[in-house]
């Protein structure tokens, strides 16, 4: 809440203006029933001049009130929009600083729901909430003052239904919100089921699960119907309740007030004024009850947003401008061990942490090429993540030019070490902008050159708009191999001092991989290069090859040395040659 108040404080003058307009709206609005009373009294006393004067006043109050209402509503609502905008920006700015451990804990779906639904709830609280909290009490004070001055007895009798309305509304709106949340979840579950069944349609068809899936779907729909109707049951009460309260109040005025008129305690004008006041109070009173639950929900949502803000990742990036560091390019993993569970609190149930890497000591001299091979899960990618500080070693340290990378500015480190990650993640933007992703100022010629080296020329020639073709969501319109080559081009445009390829070409055939690696090798000649591959056959020219097996270095040396050993590497190499041979035919 404190955080939210800081945002609100930023717009205090606009809020002040909005609230001022609100007060004017309420005052002018409450003046009208009083004027109606005077008009009726004037009619009763046959006073034309007085009537004409009052009618003019009503028109003036209506127009002024309309303008004030207009301002108050959009000024206050737009403050809400502004705060929402700022909060959203700040959340995003914070999110880009958080490291992979955060994203492992909170999934994209959950984060999205916070940034969409919770943010909306907060905005409603500060928009509708402020408006309703300022208008309604004032309207009550003003109208009660007038009504009490006209007839205290009638006032007390006639506002009784409103007290009931207010408390019932307060209770109802809470269960309405709970039930609408459930309806939202219900349709969400239906969407997820459709998504799942149709993504796995090949399994559905192959195992003749159509009926099975349909029956599960029907069940979900039944549940959703129940939720929908549960909501309808109480929502249906809402409007009659409000109208009912107003009408009940009117009825009390009519009967009890009528008796008072007959006894000449009050005038007919007073009676009409009472009726108008009560009708005018119906909606604001309702919305106040509603607003209280808005406030409660908004508070809970703000708490969920605060949870994001309170996360400080271990690898929070500093605002250091991300300049490429001047390095010779010597990289060393110095007796590094790493466990994914070591720095995770609460999961340590006494068992020794399972190490993904154990006692890795590897040095890559400037300009050399290191190859890391091994099976899936051997720890290859973990070594790469350590080098970019996506994770930090449990034991030991990683150095560049002899300096512990934790002592280097993080932005500078990442500007210096360029990675082509295993999963070719692209963004729904043009091909050119995907290539220039890490260097927005890259010239078109540089982009084209990068694409050329990555072997994309013939692919681009086939695309409708060449480099300006928009790739679908997450690069959906490209094949796996094309995506991987775009990520290579992206790295080339980034132009890092140290190049890391993390099994970057697994989806292209061996021949293409070899060709791309060769042209890549020429354009990054002289730079330290680290290549991770599960294919032994594509790394034979490396200066140094290490074979990882279950987190330890099982073999190391040059291709020739390792082949002579006839160990794991030689086995892998032969197997792959054969399988390639088989699939190549």
């Amino acid at each position: 809440m404190k955080r939210l108040l800081r945002y609100i404080a930023r717009y205090w003058h606009r809020y002040a203006f909005g609230i001022l307009c609100t007060l004017a709206t309420a005052a002018l609005g409450m003046a009208i029933p009083y004027l109606v009373r005077d008009a009726i009294n004037a009619i009763q006393s046959h006073d034309y001049a007085q009537l004409a004067f009052i009618v003019k006043l009503i028109c003036a109050a209506a127009i002024l009130g309309g303008v004030a209402r207009w301002f108050s509503r959009f000024v206050i609502f737009n403050c809400g929009r502004d705060i929402e905008y700022n909060l959203r920006n700040d959340l995003f700015a914070h999110l880009v600083k958080l490291g992979p451990d955060f994203y492992e804990r909170l999934k994209t779906g959950d984060l999205m729901s916070r940034l969409v639904n919770d943010l909306t709830a907060v905005r409603m609280m500060i928009g509708m909430g402020v408006l309703s909290f300022t208008t309604t009490p004032l309207m009550w004070v003003l109208s009660l003052t007038v009504m009490l001055s006209l007839s205290p007895r009638l006032t007390l009798a006639s506002i009784a239904p409103y007290l009931v309305l207010f408390f019932v509304m307060y209770r109802l709106s809470r269960s309405i919100m709970e039930r609408s949340l459930r309806v939202q979840e219900g349709i969400g579950a239906i969407g997820a089921k459709i998504q799942e069944s149709l993504s796995g349609i090949h399994i559905v068809k192959a195992y003749t699960l159509e009926e099975h899936q349909a029956s599960q779907f029907r069940e979900l729909n039944h549940g959703y119907n129940e939720q929908g109707l549960a909501l309808a049951r109480i929502r249906g009460v809402l409007l009659p309740l409000i109208n009912g309260a107003a009408a009940a109040a009117t009825m009390i005025v009519l009967i009890y007030g009528g008796a008072l008129v007959m006894a000449h305690h009050i005038s007919i004008g007073d009676l009409v004024a009472f009726m108008s006041y009560l009708v005018a109070l119906a909606w604001p009173t309702t919305s106040l009850g509603w607003t209280i639950s808005l406030y409660q929900r908004g508070k809970a949502s703000m708490k969920r947003l605060n949870e994001i803000f309170e996360n400080t990742s271990t690898t929070m990036i500093a605002e250091d401008g991300a300049l490429r560091l001047e390095v010779t390019g010597e990289v060393r993993w110095e007796y590094v061990s790493f466990s994914y569970f070591a720095n995770r609190n609460g999961s340590g149930n006494g068992a020794a942490p399972a190490y993904a890497l154990r006692n890795i000591d590897v040095t890559v001299r400037p300009g050399e090429k290191l190859a890391i091979v091994g099976r899936t899960g051997a720890g290859k990618s973990t070594m790469v993540k350590l080098l970019t500080r996506m994770i930090e070693p449990t034991v030991g340290r990683v150095t560049i030019d002899g300096v512990d990378i934790r002592e280097l500015p993080l932005g500078g480190l990442r500007r210096t070490v360029g990675v082509v990650p295993q999963e070719p993640l692209l963004f729904s933007d043009t091909l050119a902008r995907n290539v220039a992703f890490g260097r927005i100022d890259a010239t078109p010629a540089e982009v084209a050159e990068a694409a050329h080296v990555a072997g994309l020329d013939s692919d681009i020639a086939m695309m409708p708009r060449g480099l300006d073709t928009v790739v679908g969501e997450r690069g959906m319109s490209l094949s796996g191999g094309q995506k991987q080559r775009v990520t290579i081009a992206r790295l080339l445009a980034y132009n890092p001092a140290i190049v890391v390829l993390d099994d970057a070409l697994s989806s292209v055939d061996t021949e293409t991989e070899r060709a791309v690696l060769e042209s890549l090798g020429q354009s990054v000649r002289g730079r330290t290069t680290i290549v991770v591959s599960h294919r032994a056959s594509t790394v034979r020219d490396a200066d140094q090859i290490i074979v990882l097996d279950e987190g330890v270095i099982a073999e190391r040396g040059t291709h020739e040395e390792l082949m002579a050993r006839r160990g794991i590497y030689a086995g892998l190499f032969h197997r792959q040659l054969l399988e390639e041979e088989l699939t190549r035919y």
Binding site: A42, I43, Q44, Y48, L51, I54, I58, C59, A61, A62, G65, R73, F74, F77, N78, R81, E84, N89, V96, Y103, M112, V116, I187, I190, I194, E196, L198, I201, I203, K205, A206, Y207, T208, E210, A214, S215, R218, N225, A232, G236, G244, M251, L254, G258, V261, I268, L271, I317, R375, T376, G377, L425, F427, R490, R566, L577, L578, E579, L582, Y585
Partner: protein, 606 residues
């Protein structure tokens, strides 16, 4: 002329769409018509209240007492001195009537909308599930999800709020006008003066708001899409130190969204305030014109008050009508999209499926031709035979048509020429369900459903009990790792099986096939390498899976290839070499060369 015809066509199209919707509402026509009847009743109850107020004022409060209307006299006579209370009771009756009819109408329409749209959704799901694979190749799943959720919601809104309440609104307005005219023509006409400025403003805002709302939808969608993509690709953003640029881009989208949202607020607040102001001005007019009439005793004071109350009830339906028209429009657009989906043709099924006499599990491809896209043939004149009980391995480069063979066999697609026989019968003449019950499929990427392990093996066949599932998992070598899990068979499977390793998923897919127990097994062997222990388990499980079945395997492992009865070497959609392991060796062709290479690998280095 042309425009007129087009409009007529659009009308006809709209009518067919509405008929389609009605088809789904029809089963619930009883509550539907009840709710339709309740609507005018509700209007009647609501509109009687100002009239009662008028009578009360005229009969009891105005010093110039007027005679009561004939229908009320007996009641008042009976009430005697408690005339005022009698009026109050009448008022309460009307109020309760309004309450009950509103609630009934609201709940019934909600019920009809909920049930009929749930039926539509289920029908759509059933339909889509049975569409051919080619449909899914060209349709992103996300689009289908929004057809069945967002679009149906739009139609639902029309069913429960849009369509019929419009008639009720019109009826309500009409009734109010008639009541006012019967009270006093001159005052009624003056009161109605408020309508043109109201309509002009509503229209003015509606036109602008429609543009802004479309903008809002687009801009929010862009903003959220960018957000989702950034969250999913955060590691790339950070690795390429693009934080600042991403923030700038996000801010730009955020700003654009805010801009339209704020504009919408200005319009909305404007319309709202205008309506409020106008209703107060109308009261002023009534007081001015009517006040004079009261003074000249042309009308009663009660009539004046009733006019003010009726005028208040005038504005809401007018304001809402334009809103409802928009709902109607958007739901028609949604229905049109759904209609297009319903028009997609499912896989043709034989009118009378052939009876399968010989059930031993043979496969024959006879001169099969197939292309996903015209002019790009994938299989060319392919013929092959798999005898019952044989295990056949297919090898060949990517794009040689290996996977296509599997897809044709299970009738995911139909051949362009030639035919495929399973147990001697053309697959197109098989009962589709029976065909797929006969052929078990194990695919490279294992798809697991969210749920638990048990459900994922059973796949809806309740007759498989725990012990049967356990047996299948045991034979698939998967029982050991599953029993180590806290919940065992009931261990939760996350979306797409994300909480299991590739190897574990593969073993589970074997267990699934074992539980399915098909006569023919078709398998696309996984290429991804797994750790050595799992690799061993996979080998064992594979033996179990293949025993006693006809099997067609797209093989990637050398061991699988060697242990098969026959090997088919595929290239460019045609069969290049075929034979048993020994035959191929004797032929001294490609296979021989491969085998030699492997043999050479065991020899001392060159």
């Amino acid at each position: 002329m042309e425009v007129g015809r087009e409009e007529k066509l659009a009308r006809v199209r709209e009518l067919t769409l509405l008929k389609r919707v009605w088809g789904f509402v029809r089963p619930y026509r009883v509550p539907f018509w009840i709710s339709v009847i309740l609507m005018p009743l509700n209007t009647m109850f609501a509109l009687s209240q100002p009239y009662l107020v008028k009578l009360t004022i005229d009969l009891f409060l105005d010093p110039r007492h007027r005679p009561a209307p004939a229908w009320l006299r007996p009641t008042l006579h009976a009430a005697g001195a408690h005339g005022l209370l009698a009026m109050g009771t009448l008022y309460i009756v009307m109020l309760l009537g309004e309450f009950a009819t509103f609630y009934g109408q609201f709940y019934l329409t909600m019920m009809v909308a909920q049930y009929s749209m749930s039926d539509l959704r289920t029908a759509l799901f059933n339909h889509v599930e049975r569409l051919p694979m080619a449909f899914f190749d060209r349709t992103p799943v996300g689009r289908l999800v929004s057809r069945m959720t967002t679009d149906i919601d739009a139609i639902s809104e029309m069913v429960n709020a849009g369509s019929l309440t419009i008639f009720n609104d019109v009826l309500k307005l009409f009734t109010i006008v008639v009541i006012m005219l019967t009270f006093n023509v001159r005052l009624a006409l003056w009161t109605l003066c408020a309508i043109p400025p109201l309509l002009i403003m509503v229209n003015f805002f509606r036109v602008r708001a429609r543009v802004v709302y479309r903008e809002i939808r687009e801009r929010l969608a862009a903003l959220n899409a960018y957000l989702a993509e950034s969250l999913a690709g955060m590691s790339v953003i950070q690795l390429f130190t693009r934080e600042r640029e991403s923030r700038r881009e996000f801010d730009e989208l955020n700003l654009r969204a805010r801009e339209s949202l704020m504009l919408a607020n200005i319009y909305e607040a404007g319309l709202f305030s205008w309506v409020e102001a106008l209703s107060s001005i109308t009261i002023a007019i009534i007081l001015w014109v009517g006040g004079g009439d009261v003074i000249r005793t042309l009308i009663s004071l009660g009539t004046l008050v009733a006019f003010m109350e009726y005028a208040q009830k005038f504005f809401n339906p007018l304001r809402e009508m334009s809103q409802k028209y928009t709902v109607l429009q958007s739901s028609l657009v949604a229905m049109e999209r759904i209609e297009a989906l319903l028009q997609e043709k499912p896989i043709p099924r034989p009118a009378t499926p052939a009876r399968i006499v010989d059930r031993r599990g043979s496969i024959v491809f006879e001169h099969v031709e197939f292309a996903y896209r015209p002019g790009e043939p994938v299989l060319k004149d392919l013929s092959l035979t798999v005898e019952p009980g044989q295990k056949v391995a297919i090898v060949g480069p990517t794009g040689s048509g290996k996977t296509t063979i599997i897809k044709l066999l299970t009738r995911f697609y139909d051949v362009n020429a030639g035919r495929i026989l399973v147990d001697g019968v053309d697959v197109r003449e098989w009962d589709l369900t029976e065909l797929r019950r006969t052929i078990g499929l194990v695919q490279q990427d294992v798809f697991l459903f969210a749920g638990d392990i048990l459900e994922n093996i059973r796949l809806g066949r309740v007759e498989l009990d725990d012990s049967a599932v356990r047996a299948a998992l045991g034979r698939a070598q998967a029982l050991r790792f599953i029993e180590q899990m806290p919940a065992g068979l009931r261990e939760e499977v996350h979306e797409r099986g994300a909480n299991f390793s590739a190897g574990q998923r593969q073993l589970m897919s074997f267990a699934r096939a074992l539980a399915y127990d098909p006569r023919i097994l078709v398998m696309d062997e996984a290429t991804s390498s797994v750790d050595s222990e799992t690799e061993h388990l996979v080998q064992l499980a594979l033996e179990q899976l293949l025993s006693g079945r006809t099997a067609l395997i797209i093989a990637h492992r050398l061991s699988t290839i060697q242990s098969s009865d026959r090997i088919l070497v595929l290239s460019n959609g045609t069969l290049r070499e075929s034979g048993t392991h020994q035959e191929l060796l004797d032929r001294r062709g490609l296979y021989y060369r491969l085998f030699e290479l492997q043999y050479g690998a065991a020899e001392p280095a060159e």
